[in-house]
Subunit: 181 residues, 2 copies
DNA sequence: CATATCATGTAAGTGGTTACATGATTGT
DNA sequence: ACAATCATGTAACCACTTACATGATATG
C-alpha cells in the first residue's frame, strides 16, 4: 500500500492540496494508521494526475502562496475502490516505546518513569482531541459516514485500553531494581 | 531505530543465529512491535560483528546446515543500553485493514463482513497463542523478567480491546448499503 | 527579530524488501 | 513427489525520508 493509494483515499473525502493532505495525515484521523512526508506526497500526486486518477487546478490565494487543489476523477474513484478490494496485508507496527520497555532491565528507574509518564500524557492528549472532534458539529466534519466513525471508534478503543493498562500496571515497572528483585 | 538495534535487542535475551532472530521477530513477542527480513538481518549482524558488539561462532549441526550463533559482547550490551536511553520516536502504524474500513462506503457488504471476520479470527488466534505461551513454563521461557511481561500484557490488552470493539460494533458496519442509508 | 505557517517541489541518500542462489532433511 | 523447514548470504530494486531551494505573511 503506497502513498498513491493514500492520496486517493484522502481525496475521496473531498478536494485538497498536497499540503492539506499532509496535514490530514499527521493531525487527522489517518494519523492513527498511516504516515507520509511531502517528498512522497507531491510526486505521488503528480503521477496520479498523469494517470488521470486525479485532476489538479491551480488556485490563487490572497496573502498566501498559490496552491494546487486536487480532486478525484471518476476513474480515480473506481481505481481506489479496486485497490481496496485487494487482500489487506497484516498491520505493520513499529514501536520504539515498547522496544525500550521490553528491555526495562537495562533502564534506570527514572527512565522507566519518564517513558511511562510521557506515553500517558500523549495518550490523554490524543483522546482529548478525539473526544473534542467527535463533539463538534458532526455535520461540518470532513469525514462523515459509517467508515470513519467505525475506524475512529476503533482507534479510540485501542488508546483507551493502552491508557487503562498503563495506569493499572505502571507500578509494576516503576519499582526500583532493588525492590523488583 | 534500525535492524541493528533490533538484533542487539533480541540477542540481549540469549545467543541466536540470524535465522532464529527472524523467527523470533515473526512469531515471538517482538512480532507485535517490529519486523525485519533476512535481507536486512544478515548484513546487520555482519556489521555488528565488525564493530565488536556481537561475537559469532560457527556451529556444526547433524542433519542440518551449519549455523552462526551470535551473542552480545559486553560492549554490545552497553551499546544497546545507550541506544535505549535515546528519545523514543512515535509509534509507526500502517494498517491496510483500517484504511479499507475507513472507506466502507466503497466496499460491498460481503467484503466488509469478510474483512471483519478475518480480523476477528486473526485476533482470536493471536490471543490464544499468547495465553498458551503465558501458561507454559514461566521458567523455561526465553523472555523472563518484568520488561517482557509488561510488554506482553500491553499487547494482550490492545488485542483484547480490538476484539471487543469488533464484536460489539460489527453490526453497524455489516448492514447493507440500503439499510445503512 | 526570530520563528511558525502556508505552499510546492527536487535531489540525494537510506533503509529496507524481494528475489535469487544453494542444498540437505523432514513431513504430507 | 512436493512442500515446508532449516540455514546463510548477495544483488537488484524500491519507496520513502531528509535536506535543500524559495518566499510571503503572521505571530510571539
Amino acid at each position: 500500500m503506497d502513498v498513491q493509494t493514500l492520496c486517493l483515499a484522502v481525496l475521496a473525502h473531498g478536494p485538497a492540496s498536497g499540503y492539506e493532505i499532509k496535514k490530514e495525515l499527521e493531525e487527522g484521523a489517518y494519523s492513527h494508521f498511516f504516515r507520509a512526508s511531502f517528498g512522497s506526497i507531491y510526486p505521488a500526486l503528480a503521477r496520479l494526475a498523469g494517470a488521470g486518477l486525479v485532476s489538479g487546478r491551480e488556485q490563487e490565494q490572497a496573502k498566501r502562496p498559490d496552491k494546487k487543489v486536487y480532486k478525484l476523477t471518476a476513474a480515480g474513484r473506481r481505481d481506489l475502490a479496486r485497490r481496496l478490494q485487494g487482500p489487506v496485508g497484516p498491520d505493520y507496527v513499529r514501536s520504539e516505546f515498547l522496544l525500550a520497555l521490553f528491555h526495562a532491565d537495562l533502564l534506570a528507574p527514572r527512565r522507566r518513569r519518564e517513558l511511562i509518564a510521557d506515553r500517558i500524557a500523549a495518550l490523554k492528549d490524543c483522546l482529548a482531541r478525539m473526544d473534542k472532534d467527535a463533539a463538534t458539529a458532526p455535520e461540518q466534519c470532513r469525514y462523515e459516514g459509517i467508515g470513519p466513525a467505525f475506524v475512529c471508534g476503533y482507534g479510540h478503543a485501542i488508546l483507551t485500553a493502552e491508557l487503562d493498562y498503563l495506569e493499572r500496571n505502571r507500578a509494576r515497572l516503576e519499582m526500583t531494581e532493588a525492590s523488583a528483585a
